[in-house]
């Protein structure tokens, strides 16, 4: 091969290598974040204040966790019951009251969710399996911002099947497909 051309060829190959690797790296970045950023809540609600300081239990707000498939995010009247008068100088409470006046409800963003083809019931897990809320949701009482503490580490937003199956296996819970995919 012509030695004069060799530096050009090697330069071209090196640039190609750089471009290909950067493309792969950027693609990896997109794969990591394929489900988008963590949901931003409309109000900076702190579980640690409400649970640790005020000693509210989980069921105080998430009333249906022991009764239905959903734990539910509390409706505005739950917040309003206390915050009509409590801590009204707090900017987040001011925001809360303004939102309630304008819209009636707060547009909370779900932190934990399952895909449409999955049947998950809170009642069975809390009442039958007698799991503490923290077992799946982590130390919520210590969170100033609700984050997903478990459920698999790579799937943003949706709980991973592998994570569920691991716990079912550990506890001897049913693992037939129809248990969760009705």
């Amino acid at each position: 091969m012509n030695n004069k051309k060799m530096p050009l060829i090697l330069g071209g190959l090196s640039i190609t290598w750089i471009v290909v690797v950067i493309a792969l790296v950027y693609g990896s970045h997109l794969v990591i974040h394929r489900f988008g950023p963590l949901p931003e809540q409309p109000i900076k609600f702190s579980h640690t204040v409400h649970v640790n300081k005020l000693n509210l239990e989980c069921l105080y707000c998430h009333e249906t966790a022991e009764k239905s498939i959903h734990a539910t995010i509390p409706k505005s009247d739950v917040c309003f019951a206390c915050h009509e008068d409590a801590d009204v100088d707090n900017p987040e409470v001011e925001k809360l009251l303004a939102m309630l006046k304008k819209k009636g409800e707060i547009d909370w963003q779900r932190v934990y969710k399952v895909k449409d083809h999955v049947y998950f019931t809170h009642r069975v897990h809390t009442v039958v399996a007698k799991l503490d809320c923290q077992e799946c949701h982590g130390p919520v009482e210590n969170m100033s911002v609700a984050i997903r503490a478990s459920g698999g580490s790579s799937d943003r937003g949706f709980l991973e099947m592998g994570w569920c199956v691991t716990c079912h296996k550990k506890r001897g819970a049913p693992r037939e497909c129809i248990t969760c995919h009705k």
């Binding site: 090196s14 750089i18 792969l24 206390c82 008068d85 984050i147």
Partner: protein, 429 residues
Amino acid sequence: MDIIPIDLPLDLPAPLWFLKFALVAFFLLHILFINFMIGGTVWTVFLRMLSKEDPFWGRVARDIGNTVTVNKSLAVVLGVAPLLAISLVYTQFFYSSNNITAPLWLSIIWLVPIAFIALYIYKYTWDSPTYSMRFKYFWGLLAVAIFAFVPFIFLANINLMLYPDQWKNVYNFWQAIWVPNVIPRYLHFMNASFAISGFFAYGYFHFKGKNKPEDKAYYARAKRLGMKWALYATTLQMIFGVLNYVTLPMVADSTMVLVLIVCSVIFAGIVVYLLSLNLYADKNVHHLWIFTAILIVVSLMATMRHVVRENALKEPNKILANKTAIYQAKFASFMKTYSPSGEIKVSGVTIFQEVCTACHAIDKKLVGPPMQYAIDKYRDDREAMITFVNNPKKINKDYPVMPKPPISTAEVAMVVDYLLNLEVGKHEQ
């Protein structure tokens, strides 16, 4: 993540930024020498196997082997500072992962000395006719095997500390290695060991050859060999590096990580180009350019590694701070009740002020009704008031249901006694 231990209320011996900087800088130096050690051990054993075909390989294997015993000492010594720094800066996380992987983590204590002794036996029996080749290769391969395994132990531990949400699912090292992304990190690291030891060989034979002009051919060939290792392994990082990144847990990633990786790739590409010019275009690019470029690459990588750690521990650190604040508040509250004689000094008024005033005032409505309402209602029925406070129910549509206060029945009784004995207009609040 509820098993993150609380923080220790002790001042750090140096500013946090300094400890983190020392951690990153010294770890970089440490890991470079670890790379020299691991790569060098592999080359000194496997290249020797080729010496029957060409004595050049045997000579290179021996020369590299002579450096490994020095590099390993420097690697160990340089590892002390980052180990101490990480224990100071990330105590709760590092301690926890150490505990989970304890048996294998502590096995480093005996595995590494065995590897070092094996290396010395391999090195000092090199020319001895007393020992068979099988004997010599046994010790060399033992060192290789241990050096291939020990980074796995370190990586499993260091990785596990970043993901407290995994601690409840992991009971030992063998489970820790399956936590993302230990295995891709390990492959990336091992390939880097070959690359970095290639750069070491390049530099070593370059400078050794300067003083031995009579052996110019050997040192030139050995130097080219080092450059080839460096080039091929660096090029291969496009597979191992990308695999490492794509398997990175989401919480550890950020735009800064992406930017640092892209900058590293650009400089790595420059290294690939410069090495290629020397090897395949008969150019004589000065080693200073190549070493500067690779130094920039490894520095960017070391920084990126730290950013990954900070990202992953961002939320756990908040939980840690919250847990610690709650513990310290409870402890302070306990200390108000503690005396050497065991006498409880707390009074009903103290408990009322600390626990109840978030929602109740004596003479006005807050979240709950004014206490004057309760005093009037239960003035002649102390027990009913104690029963209600211990087990509140929704009885008044104008107020939300009262949560059960976090105090004992005895403390409830003290608060009730305080309230029922209050003189109107003379309450302490």
